[in-house]
């Protein structure tokens, strides 16, 4: 089997690529730091995209590891927090990006690797959010009749783990009966289950407080974070909400780092290859000894766990969760991120999450704000660009799929080359198999 030799781009030369990404990061960081508070929102959104591009470029280039770390670490650990302090909106965008990136990585396992079309994925997100939402607010007192303000914020850490476990249990419970369904039947059943969970949240008023949602969710105490960051906090005279936003930022960064590492290991593991085998051909996979139900259930549960953990974090970020946060469109949104980014590709779905969240929260909003200031749209009372963000988004989706159906960063699988000497005499490989890119 021969593979087409890809033309060498400048990003394929490690030392050149290292230089380029370092310069790029430095330039965009500087630009971002200078315009973060001054320029108009649209310009800011574009510069912000360039800054986010750092992550993409770092993933895609073949730069040396040291250069990657040297460009990403300061950008994420220093530049972004400073931008966030100066411009809370951009920090909010980044928090949303990371939350959705985690969801997209979870759904990527279910849809991208195992090939199970799940249209109700946001249900697991809801499960995680409500798990801490109910216990960490006055709602638990109302359920038991004991009153009170809910569990102390420090229980959050335990519930972060519990949210994962509950999401996994729900994933298995949902998965077990429906996994023998195929393709579109699975899609509609998961869609239905997602709706069922939303309707439960909406109508099981004694437990979930119905459409009003759970309010006043206790965040964990972050005294230690204060102490840790006290020089910075004092230097910039940060307010309490700003410190909490910073804390959330570092929290989601840690969680997403764990999730990404986990994904990278899974991708190359036995189970990861089983998922792909099932996606490619269920019957052949079964014939080769892949246990279908178990493998699919693990995919469901793993995907659910990421959503569960982010759900709990979402609960403390918003301090309130309501059924409105978990609609069918959220599930569709995450699916769009996965496919737009490149199914089955870890950097791809992260880029997908970035692109979609940035477009929806930042760019399209800024664009319509800007258009509203133009004379053509003044006082006409009919066409308000802010109302038609979905129209642009729809157009972008169509054009994206027409011109780049494989996604922004398609998955690249490592090929396993079996040395010829191993195949000449017997079918069993006598030498260790070499793995090459």
């Amino acid at each position: 089997m021969t593979h087409a030799v890809k033309k060498q781009g400048i990003l394929d030369n490690p030392s050149l690529a290292s230089l380029i990404i370092l310069i790029y990061t430095a330039v965009t960081s500087t630009l971002m730091l200078t315009v973060a508070t001054t320029a108009n929102n649209l310009v800011q959104a574009l510069f912000f995209a360039a800054f986010l591009g750092t992550v993409v470029l770092t993933f895609k280039s073949k730069a040396n590891t040291w250069a990657k770390i040297l460009s990403l670490a300061p950008a994420l650990m220093v530049v972004m927090p400073i931008i966030g302090i100066r411009n809370e909106f951009l920090l909010e965008v980044v928090l949303q990006i990371v939350i959705y990136a985690a969801l997209a990585l979870g759904l990527n396992i279910v849809v991208g690797l195992a090939g199970l079309l799940d249209l109700g994925y946001v249900a697991f997100f809801a499960v995680g959010a409500y798990t801490w939402g109910i216990f960490g607010s006055a709602q638990i007192g109302r359920i038991t009749g004991a009153g009170g303000e809910g569990l102390d914020g420090n229980w959050f850490w335990l519930f972060l783990a519990l949210a994962v476990i509950v999401a996994i249990i729900v994933g298995v419970l949902i998965g077990l009966p429906v996994l023998k369904l195929k393709g579109d039947y699975l899609a509609i059943v998961t869609l239905g289950l997602g709706e069922v969970i939303r309707v439960f949240a909406n109508n099981l008023t004694p437990v979930t407080n119905g459409p009003n949602g759970v309010l006043g969710i206790n965040p964990p105490h972050i005294g230690w974070f204060h102490t840790l960051m006290s020089p910075i906090i004092n230097r910039f005279e940060l307010t309490e909400p700003q410190v909490f936003a910073l804390f959330l930022y570092f929290l989601v960064l840690v969680v997403i780092a764990v999730i990404v590492l986990f994904n990278m290991r899974l991708d190359q593991s036995h189970i990861g290859r089983s998922w792909i085998a099932i996606r490619e051909d269920e019957i052949a996979a079964q014939a080769m000894g892949v246990p279908l139900v178990r493998t699919k259930l693990i995919a469901f549960a793993t995907g659910a766990s990421f959503a569960g953990v982010m759900g709990a974090i979402f609960a403390i970020k918003q301090t309130a969760v309501s059924p409105e946060d978990f609609t069918f469109f959220q599930s569709i949104g995450v699916l769009v991120m996965v496919i737009l980014g490149g199914m089955g590709s870890i950097p791809g779905v992260i880029v997908g999450a970035m692109a979609v969240t940035w477009l929806q929260l930042d760019f399209l909003k800024s664009l319509s704000e800007y258009l509203n200031t133009l004379p053509a749209f003044q006082n006409n009372g009919v066409f308000d660009p802010a109302k038609y963000e979905k129209l642009f988004f729809g157009l972008l989706l169509i054009f994206m799929m027409l011109f780049r159906p494989q996604g922004l960063l398609p998955a690249v699988r490592k090929h396993i080359k079996i040395p010829e000497s191993a195949t000449v005499n017997s079918g069993v490989s006598q030498q260790p198999v070499q793995e090459v890119k």
């Binding site: 039947y185 069918f328 066409f383 963000e389 989706l397």
Partner: protein, 326 residues
């Protein structure tokens, strides 16, 4: 109301809602049958039909015409425009992607759906300076055979659509061609069928059905906007899957079952509170369980039923279990 009247209402309303679901579901099923594609934009084709119907009816509202004639004109125009729109969607968003992985056209379908939702709202906004449209009532309120004219209209138009489609698909040359393409596009092409034309035609028929359903929906529920397609779209897709997606009688059965179930559960959640089912211990029991809950439970009931049915019949009520090609 006595129990008998309640039951009559449940069955009648279930039938009417079911007919509308069935007509929308047929649009999904036709397209799915030939392309194996979930046409998410179908909800918006349906909404377009509803808006077009409104425009035609309000244009005709000044004229001295019989109400039924007005509605027939509205139905025909809606069929043409929705069908044409569906052809256009297929040309621009799906045809270039034929042969791509299944999820890719699914995303363009979602994109088209978003695009159309806001375009419809823009259109309504520019023409009517409002976001919501109220259908003019063109039919009187005089009951015929115990049914309101709207109910009668829905049942009759629904029946005509279903019988007509059945005739078209099973008894005409065109229908044979559609079935051939649905079964095996490649072989059909070898047999001299222009598959592209047949696919366009299928999209036209599916869109026309969506348009009809949109007008009927508007006549029944009177309020229309750019987003009305979403919920009926999901329900109708559910109905199509429930009956066995790709199967035409399946879509009808699925629509009727779903409509009936929704109304039954809705009625229990409303009348159960009032304890109207005095002489039926079972229903009284269900009623007391479902006390104090919103009407949204009918959706839960419908989806739960879907899940249970699919667990026992994984290919839907009338779907054939597909044999795997190895």
């Amino acid at each position: 109301m006595s129990d008998l009247q309640i039951w009559q209402q449940i069955i009648l309303q279930g039938l009417i809602l079911g007919v509308v679901y069935a007509i929308i579901a047929l649009g999904y099923t036709m397209v799915y049958g030939v392309l194996q594609l979930i046409n998410f934009a179908h909800s918006e084709v349906f909404a377009t039909g509803a808006v077009v119907g409104y425009q035609v009816l309000s244009l005709l509202s000044g004229t001295e015409m019989n109400g039924y004639v007005k509605i027939i004109i509205a139905l025909l125009v809606a069929m043409l425009i929705s069908g044409g729109l569906n052809i256009l969607i297929e040309r621009l968003a799906y045809r270039p992607l034929r042969g791509a992985p299944k999820l890719v056209p699914l995303i363009t379908a979602i994109g088209v759906s978003f695009l159309l939702q806001d375009s419809l709202r823009l259109f309504i906004n520019i023409k009517e300076k409002t976001d919501r449209l109220s259908y003019p009532s063109v039919l009187g309120s005089e009951k015929i055979m115990g049914l309101t004219p709207t109910e009668l209209l829905l049942i009759i138009v629904g029946a005509i659509m279903l019988i007509g489609l059945n005739f078209l698909v099973n008894r005409t040359k065109l229908g044979t061609a559609i079935r051939a393409v649905a079964q095996d596009g490649q072989t059909a092409r070898l047999m001299g069928i222009n598959t592209n034309n047949i696919i366009s035609l299928t999209f036209f028929i599916g869109g026309a059905l969506g348009g009809v359903a949109g007008v009927l929906w508007g006549v029944k529920f009177t309020q229309v906007d750019g987003y009305i397609g979403i919920i009926p779209g999901i329900k109708a897709f559910t109905a199509a899957v429930l009956g066995g997606i790709g199967s035409i009688p399946g879509a009808v059965v699925g629509g009727l079952v779903l409509g009936f179930l929704e109304n039954l559960i809705g009625a229990i959640s409303v009348f159960g509170i009032k304890m109207s089912f005095t002489d039926n211990a079972f229903l009284k029991g269900i009623g007391s369980v479902l006390m104090n809950i919103g009407a949204e439970w009918k959706d839960v009931g419908a989806f739960m039923a879907l899940i249970v049915i699919l667990i026992f019949k994984p290919a839907g009520l009338l779907g054939k279990a597909t044999t795997e090609k190895v």
